[in-house]
């Protein structure tokens, strides 16, 4: 099995916690006609990290870097959930039972159902365990 095809490149952008920073990022991506598929902001003491799945991560990286943003790629996986009560539980239980730790996560609900984006400590192990348990992982090609 090629686990790599399930590894998705998230872009992570360092941002100070002050007005206008998100607008600057979003404007840059819009200019390059880059579509944001999933998105979250994590905040700490005075600063934050903007995390996004985009259709053209390399292009997004280069554009934001050229504007002076501090940006890095992070590997995440995306698990399909049932868009109904108990949907999150099913996925979370698989991971919990498999002893896989979630560092952070965010979700979106699109036309093809709900998707949970996960950053885990052992990504390849996580892919194998999730697939073994019968859940569906979205392939990288779905996003970019």
């Amino acid at each position: 099995m090629d686990a790599k095809k399930y590894v998705i490149r998230q872009i992570s952008i360092f941002s100070e916690n002050r007005p206008g920073r998100l607008a600057a990022i979003a404007h840059a991506l819009g200019e390059e006609k880059i579509n944001i598929l999933a998105f979250s902001i994590a905040e700490a003491n005075g600063f934050g990290v903007v995390r996004a799945l985009v259709d053209h991560p390399e292009k997004a990286h280069d554009k934001l870097q050229s504007l002076g943003f501090n940006i890095a790629f992070t590997e995440v996986i995306a698990v399909k959930m049932k868009d109904q009560p108990g949907g999150l539980y099913e996925v979370a239980k698989i991971l919990g039972d498999a002893g896989i730790n979630i560092e952070y996560s965010y979700a979106y609900s699109g036309k093809d159902g709900a998707v949970l984006i996960l950053r885990v400590d052992q990504i390849e192990d996580a892919i194998i365990r999730i697939l073994d348990s019968g859940a569906t992982l979205l392939e990288r090609s779905v996003f970019h």
Partner: protein, 429 residues
């Protein structure tokens, strides 16, 4: 009241004669220090060069950096076995400045503090709570020994646990306190929260940081004390160098022990009485660590008028610094120390900005620092750890808790010429 009336009220001619005698003695004492031997030889100053007090102008200045370069014991004029105590004070970069005392020095120093306390009417009847750091900072042990010499009942409460401090003040009937003015303000607020007053208090001695006349009024009404300004620096023993008398209009500096000059910090030339400049002091009574023309960096002036109390000429309250040293919660901080710390942390840039605020009467320092472009892993947790690391490194170097803000690379101002990296937003004195 006088502790040493004869010395404190010496006539100008007698004082000058004593100063000259002691200056010559100090000049002999510094010959035991390699730095001074070399420095004086270079300047062509011999014992015979100093015939009058004005001849002091032939002697080169000593700067804080010189002391730092002598780390640790380069400025000791006596063997280490004769040194009975060491204190330190923060330097401009990593290493602190070390000061040493012989047994006689400790006696001289505590005697000067006894003069100050007696001058404002404190006696052996008083109960004294010393609410400053008792460690390497000279303020703790310095005042402790001086107060014991006066015969006061001394409570070495040091810092922290404000509620307990207030309980002790009330339970022990404390009449006199010594602390930083910002801590005194905090003390009064905590007492208010506790719903208590500190009725036994009469006298407050406040020093180690600059404070305004409006702070004096506030402290006096909130604490029920008469507030006195205390001045000193570790290089000149510590506290006790100058102190307000009951007139509270300028500080009496002990001219028999400290030869004072006010200079233009740019030219090094002396300025006239009444003109503001940097205070340069030659301590005349130090045994372990004699200094010549020490640049204090403190800006003041010699007041032209005499004082009703008959002691010598006063200096005005310190209005600032001639260098970039900051005093945060009584601790000396140089911006270069911050730079030095940041240079050692590869994940952050070397640009920084420092903001100083007074929040609830306590100084708070915020340091903005850029993260390095290459060190961003994309993980929030790594950034949070980096932030903690910078806080810890700064605390280790400055002995001060700071708030560190990580900012985006390239976002801090770049300076051409002299950098203005410090924004002090505390109330102006």
């Amino acid at each position: 009241m006088f502790w040493d009336k004869k010395t404190e009220t010496l006539k100008p001619a007698d004082l000058k004669a004593l100063q000259l005698k002691r200056l010559k003695k100090t000049l002999a004492q510094v010959q035991h220090v390699d730095f001074y031997q070399k420095r004086l030889a270079e300047a062509g100053v011999k014992a015979s060069s100093i015939k009058t007090l004005d001849d002091i102008r032939k002697i080169p200045f000593t700067k804080k950096q010189d002391l730092r370069d002598g780390y640790p014991f380069g400025f000791f004029a006596v063997p280490l076995k004769k040194i009975v105590r060491i204190h330190t004070t923060s330097g401009t970069t990593g290493k602190p400045t070390v000061v040493g005392y012989t047994r006689k020095d400790l006696d001289t120093w505590s005697d000067l503090i006894a003069r100050n306390m007696t001058m404002v009417g404190i006696t052996e009847e008083d109960v004294f709570q010393n609410m400053v750091n008792y460690g390497m900072f000279t303020g703790g042990l310095g005042f402790h020994y001086g107060a014991e010499k006066v015969g006061m009942t001394v409570i070495p409460s040091a810092t922290g646990n404000t509620k307990r401090q207030i309980e002790m003040i009330n339970d022990f009937g404390v009449t006199t306190i010594h602390c930083t003015p910002s801590y005194a303000m905090h003390l009064s607020e905590v007492a208010e929260e506790m719903g208590t007053t500190m009725d036994s208090l009469k006298t407050g001695i406040f020093g180690a940081e600059a404070w305004s006349e409006s702070t004096r009024k506030t402290l006096e009404s909130r604490l029920g004390v008469t507030a006195y300004d205390s001045y000193g620096l570790s290089e000149l023993f510590g506290p006790g160098v100058a102190f307000e008398c009951p007139e509270r209009d300028g500080l009496h500096i002990w001219h028999d022990s400290y030869l004072v000059e006010i200079i233009d910090p740019k030219t090094g030339e002396q300025v006239a009485d009444g003109e503001r400049g940097e205070m340069v002091v030659t301590p005349l009574v130090k045994e372990a660590m004699p200094l010549l023309r020490y640049r204090t960096g403190d800006v003041t002036l010699i007041m032209e008028d005499g004082c009703i109390c008959r002691r010598g000429k006063k200096i005005a309250r310190i209005t600032g610094r001639s260098d970039d040293m900051l005093v945060i919660r009584g601790i000396n901080v140089f911006p270069s120390q911050i730079e030095h710390v940041l240079l050692k942390i590869p994940e952050v840039g070397n640009q920084f900005m420092v903001y100083i605020d007074r929040i609830n009467h306590l100084d708070e320092m915020t340091v903005d620092v850029e993260i390095n472009r290459d060190s961003f892993s994309g993980e929030l947790a790594d950034l949070a750890n980096l932030q903690k690391k910078v806080v810890k490194e700064l605390r280790d170097a400055l002995e001060l808790r700071t708030t560190v803000k990580l900012v985006e690379p390239g976002s801090l101002p770049r300076f051409e010429g002299k950098a203005k990296r410090v924004v002090d937003r505390r109330e102006v004195v």
